[in-house]
Symmetry: C2
Subunit: 379 residues, 2 copies
């Protein structure tokens, strides 16, 4: 069966160009970038060339990019790095961040740091007034994601960046879902730290990056060798890094336009043709590839199961917590009831998504919802 | 020019079988192992199959293996994991551990833990009496590497394991250099934590593993999702994990015999034919692929440069510190003077090393040493 993969928020297919670029670094140019001989220098050159490519993508300097093992490590390093460098203080974040931000901030609270978790409105936008009013003299860091992984809401990071600049507070954003889909320029915006993850934009798994603005000091979290500006010990994953860099060049404007068009087609169809369906997140400021809908009186996991049987891969929320029975913290925070949150379905597109894929979803989804509602005890 | 790669202690070529096994996980079986749909379950199955393979290799249970981003992360997690879980106490390690162990223990000292760094003898063997006498009531962890990355000395981990068992102390060993070259069975030996790194045994870079004996509790170091027994957040690097597992099956007994034979041929030639050359490390209990020699009155880096010009990749010590001007802490600890340490050369073989490669080294090395000694101001 030919699968229709609509779970690109969880992970993406690695692009063939990316694989082609990576391959020589497994068995030809396989040196250790710290070795002085030609095999090592070959690896070192690929590493620094990749760093330039990634820096270019956000108008940063190469020296401001370090590579990590993924988005979770980047977020852990950014937040713990600032906190432990400062030693004490207050951190502000939102209630709908990814678990790797929330759990990290909670861990810091146990270590004596203080934290404020800002509310979001019914579309998932951060409450800017509350954010403003939460700023204290000892606020050391504000961490607010660029776009939400479950509902696709794009936060007003321009305004948050201005606020941070005004108060001289370090600003971190988790751009794991948005990178390559929404342009970011660190020249235009005062963002100090940005997290990226390769496998969310057709790069390989196990590789991420962190942008660290010049003069921002972080305390290292992985001790050992002097790799990555002494901020991240461990032999550099050159094939992964080369793949990550290549992937930054993959998505074109036409891909984004196409995803937006197909996203809107799917949302419009569902809202117009299936009763008691509600779009989660914003209609306007929304990731180009995200559809998240709550259906009354059905279980999202049951919808997912029936879609899976038809060859459609979907999810009920973030893959990281998809095995947990707790409903999504994001959906609860935007005001959904326990039942509404449990009745949600996320479909995330990629540049590989075809119109006929969306047409197939449109064809099978209404019957699945109807069937499940007939069986539902909640009705 | 066909290179002769003799820096396999720094990193190795990924085996073709490993690459073949990894490839489908980039663009076919690319799911997120936490996703519930078939694409996710396909990844989950590969993950658990890989875990079984790695567990088998050391007679462990699959539930005792977690995957990390590499050897440095495994060592950081093992040592910090035990320390922060216990909260306080005393740690014993050796003076010749890899920097990712030494820097981690030093970091813990700053956090209020106490540490003892045990001496080694002139061949690099840990002083077992000193180790015994250093044990205190509050000793929580002993971390001693299996085989040294610079001089290849194989530590008596059987005796250290016995000692730890007797005193009920957690025992961690860094097996990054030894894994697949020296058999380890956690059924036979009471080792509680063992660190592994994929790229040292023909697997990919960016992937490692940690064996954690049942009932040993670690405090997680990467916060976020519930992956890897809630010990290591982040989407699992499936292609890397599959490659790591495949690599555990690569090296055969005949490869080890061959490396040992070629190692001995090279050592014998140098000691018998080049004046004022001294073998660093033990002649008998030595990694099958390690040659480390000090030459009087020459710089190791200069030898490396001349060998590189002849197409031979070597190193002067650990790649992690090869850009530093400080002489190796390992060579200084086994008693070499500053000059002797600077005059050292490491040649590390792999299963791909051919007799003609060693013969070529034998052909060109004496002249290089002679030439450098003529130029040397130290003579």
């Amino acid at each position: 069966m030919n699968l229709i993969y609509l779970d690109n928020g969880a992970t993406t297919k690695v692009d063939d160009k990316v694989i082609k670029k990576m391959l020589p670094y497994f068995n030809e140019k396989f040196g250790n970038a710290s070795s002085l001989h030609q095999k090592g220098q070959e690896a070192r050159m690929a590493l620094e060339e990749s760093r330039r490519t990634v820096a270019n993508a956000i108008s940063a300097k190469p020296s401001e990019i370090i590579f990590t093992s993924g988005g979770s490590e980047s977020n852990n390093l950014a937040i713990k790095g600032v906190a432990y460098e400062k030693g004490r203080g207050h951190i502000i974040t939102s209630k709908i961040e990814h678990p790797c931000v929330l759990r990290t901030v909670e861990e810091l609270e146990k270590k004596g740091f203080e934290a404020t978790y800002i509310d979001v409105d019914s579309e998932g936008f951060i409450d800017l007034d509350q954010l403003k009013n939460s700023i204290r003299k000892d606020t050391i860091l504000i961490s607010v994601m660029h776009a939400n992984n479950e509902i696709g809401t794009i936060q007003p990071i321009e305004q948050i960046a201005e606020l941070c600049k005004k108060h001289d507070i370090i600003f971190h954003t988790d751009a794991v879902q948005s990178f390559t889909k929404i342009p970011i320029s660190v020249k235009k915006l005062k963002i100090d730290l940005i997290s990226f993850s390769g496998h969310k934009f057709h790069g390989p798994k196990g590789i991420g990056a962190l942008y660290i603005r010049e003069r921002i000091k972080l305390k290292k979290q992985m001790h050992g060798g002097s790799q990555e500006r002494k901020l991240r010990a461990g032999t550099e994953n050159i094939s992964g890094i080369v793949g990550f860099a290549e992937a930054t060049k993959i998505i074109k404007n036409s891909d984004i336009k196409n995803m937006t068009k197909l996203r809107d087609k799917l949302i419009d169809f569902i809202l117009n043709n299936i009763d008691n369906a509600r779009l989660n997140g914003s209609r306007e400021r929304r990731l180009c590839n995200n559809v998240n809908i709550s259906f009354d009186a059905v279980e999202g996991e049951a919808i997912g199961g029936y879609l899976d049987a038809k060859g459609i891969c979907s999810s009920t929320g973030s893959a990281c917590s998809s095995k947990s029975l707790e409903p999504s913290h994001v959906l609860k925070t935007i005001g959904l009831t326990h039942e509404e949150a449990h009745g949600s379905l996320r479909l995330t597109l990629s540049k590989y998504t075809k119109e006929k894929d969306i047409d197939f979803v449109i064809k099978v989804l209404p019957d699945i919802i109807k069937k499940l509602r007939k069986m539902s005890p909640i009705k």
